[in-house]
């Protein structure tokens, strides 16, 4: 047994509960498929994007921490590793999207009523936007992500037993070398899975908007997990106020970054008013205005003001509340990115959005918890764990 922390052996009920809820949610969603196929597919695509985004965000954060040689996050690193390791599961969960490619992505079978100019444009994009190439790319993305995530988890858990310093070096090397590849695949995945829902629309910063959103989500999830992980074999008790303050500061930075990118994208499209670009923004900020306003206030203004408070950041309960709120806002943001492609005129909520959300989330959570069982919930063999536990900010 390790002197810092015993292995995590509990959580059996939680795994089963999550799996049950997930199965139920997915079952109901399948029911919706028979009722309204297109609507349900979009709902599922939204749910998939959200939860896959959290896992991908976790991987990007983890790789960034390693590449930056950061020491303080060592104590909270394991949840990121476990979250990222669920990415292969999402390859499986992508199957319904593949089966529903045609209803989801108008470029698969361009609608007959398309004006000739638009049809020409779609044709000009065909070398990139075609089903075989799309599938090849998807396979590539999941292969790269899964490989990096699994290697990082594997090396890190091997270090739990051996304490081999060499494994730290390997994790750092893989992360630093892998980040450019991860960045590129994420960026193209955002183009493929989200931007091409409206295939005439382009925005070169959209990929950055997507992956900064996933950072906010993944970090918020990490805060919630760190704040609530109390009990036998759980790492939460190792953490002090400083860890939460640092996490809170990082969350603050990401919220600001998200707002910055969102504003730049909105303003530049609004001001140039070009026919290819502006319909996307019009649908989301004029026709879906209430949602956009809630996002500005809830995804930026409120957390910005709250996270400015030093005392709030050091309090794990308060910070967890803010993080939960941000997770909800990130879901709203994802929904607001996906759904107006189907309903550009007005905000429309279909019940399958909720069941798919719970369904995918339940399955993913069950998988992450199942991976955690029988392991240490902190990298106990890491040479910098003690640095991380002792971290103090003046």
């Amino acid at each position: 047994m390790n002197p810092v922390l015993p292995r995590f052996e509990g959580g059996q009920r939680l795994v089963l509960g999550c799996a049950a809820v997930g199965t139920l949610g997915l079952g109901l969603t399948a029911l919706g498929l028979t009722q309204n196929t297109r609507e349900t597919l979009f709902s599922y695509h939204f749910a998939f994007t959200y939860w896959m985004g959290l896992a991908l965000g976790a991987l990007l954060l983890l790789a960034t921490f390693h590449a930056a040689r950061a020491r303080w996050p060592t104590a909270v690193r394991r949840p990121l590793e476990l979250g990222a390791a669920t990415l292969p599961l999402f390859a499986l969960l992508f199957v319904p999207v593949v089966l529903g490619l045609s209803p989801l992505f108008p470029w698969v079978h361009p609608p007959a009523d398309l004006p000739p100019h638009a049809r020409e444009q779609l044709l000009a994009k065909a070398p990139y936007l075609n089903v075989p190439f799309f599938l090849v790319r998807t396979v590539l993305y999941f292969t790269v992500w899964s490989a990096v995530a699994w290697l990082l988890l594997h090396w890190s858990t091997r270090q739990d037993e051996s304490g081999d310093v060499d494994l730290t070096v390997r994790q750092r090397r893989l992360s630093a070398g892998g980040l450019p590849v991860l960045g590129l695949t994420t960026s193209f995945a955002a183009v493929d899975w989200l931007m091409s829902l409206e295939p005439r629309w382009v925005s070169s910063v959209f990929s950055a908007y997507f992956f900064i959103g996933t950072w906010v989500g993944a970090l918020a999830l990490l805060v919630v997990v760190a704040a609530s992980a109390r009990g036998a074999g759980l790492f939460g008790a190792l953490l002090g106020p400083t860890h939460f303050r640092l996490l809170g500061t990082l969350l603050f930075a990401f919220v600001c970054l998200w707002a910055y990118i969102a504003f730049c994208q909105y303003m530049l499209i609004w001001v140039a008013d070009l026919p290819e670009e502006v319909p996307w923004v019009l649908a989301r900020t004029e026709h879906w205005r209430p949602v956009a306003v809630v996002l500005v206030l809830g995804h930026f203004a409120l957390p910005f003001l709250l996270l400015l408070q030093r005392r709030l950041k050091a309090d794990r309960r308060l910070l967890a509340v803010v993080a939960l709120w941000l997770l909800a806002m990130h879901a709203l943001d994802t929904w607001w990115l996906v759904m107006p492609a189907l309903h550009p005129e007005r905000p429309t909520l279909h019940w399958t959005s909720l069941t798919a959300f719970v369904g995918v989330g339940g399955i993913a959570a069950a998988a992450a918890l199942w991976l955690a069982r029988g392991r240490y919930t902190a990298p106990v063999g890491d040479p910098f764990l003690l640095h991380s536990l002792k971290v103090k900010v003046p």
Partner: protein, 172 residues
């Protein structure tokens, strides 16, 4: 009354002890911020963040108001068919002015709270005190009423001061 200490730890410890013994009107001098120095003196929370917030909000509000008044109300001009109330285009200057006024508030607020510029201070009378900005750690205690300079000198010596000196002059 000023006394020099050889290490920062000795100075912080001495300050804390002196305060516990009831001495007031104390100040420490060091070439870099002391760890725990302000706590040892029992200083209240700094007001600088509050000033910064007020300055920043003033800047944002001012910039919004004058841009709206100048470009929407007083001198509306059609620029490429954009609305005269183009609020997204006000944001850059709102942000810049907010930052500018916040920075001014911080800088001048900080100087004001520290009572600077203050070219003369009694401690400058001491030639040895010149080390305070390079390698010395000093504690000053005002001699007043019961706190006679002899008593302070004794206490400081007992706490490990390597050098004590009396400086006279008007306070602030």
């Amino acid at each position: 009354m000023i006394g020099e200490f050889s290490t920062p730890h000795a100075l912080v410890d001495a300050t804390r002890t002196m305060r516990e013994r009831g001495f007031t009107h104390m100040d420490t001098y060091s070439p870099y911020p002391l760890h725990g120095g302000s706590e040892a003196l029992g200083l209240p929370r700094s007001k600088v963040p509050l000033l910064a917030l007020i300055g920043g909000l003033t800047g944002v509000a001012t910039a919004f108001t004058f841009q709206t008044w100048m470009n929407t109300i007083d001198y509306p001009l059609n620029v490429g068919g954009r609305p005269t109330f183009s609020w997204p285009m006000w944001v850059p200057i709102m942000f810049e002015l907010g930052v500018l006024l916040a920075a001014f508030s911080i800088f001048f607020g900080l100087l004001g709270l520290s009572r600077l510029p203050q070219p003369y201070h009694p401690v400058f009378e001491s030639e040895a005190f010149r080390s305070a900005s390079t390698h010395g750690y000093w504690l000053s205690v005002e001699a007043k009423g019961e706190q006679s300079s002899e008593r302070i000198s004794q206490e400081l010596g007992a706490l490990g001061a390597t050098h004590t000196e009396v400086v006279k002059g008007e306070r602030e």
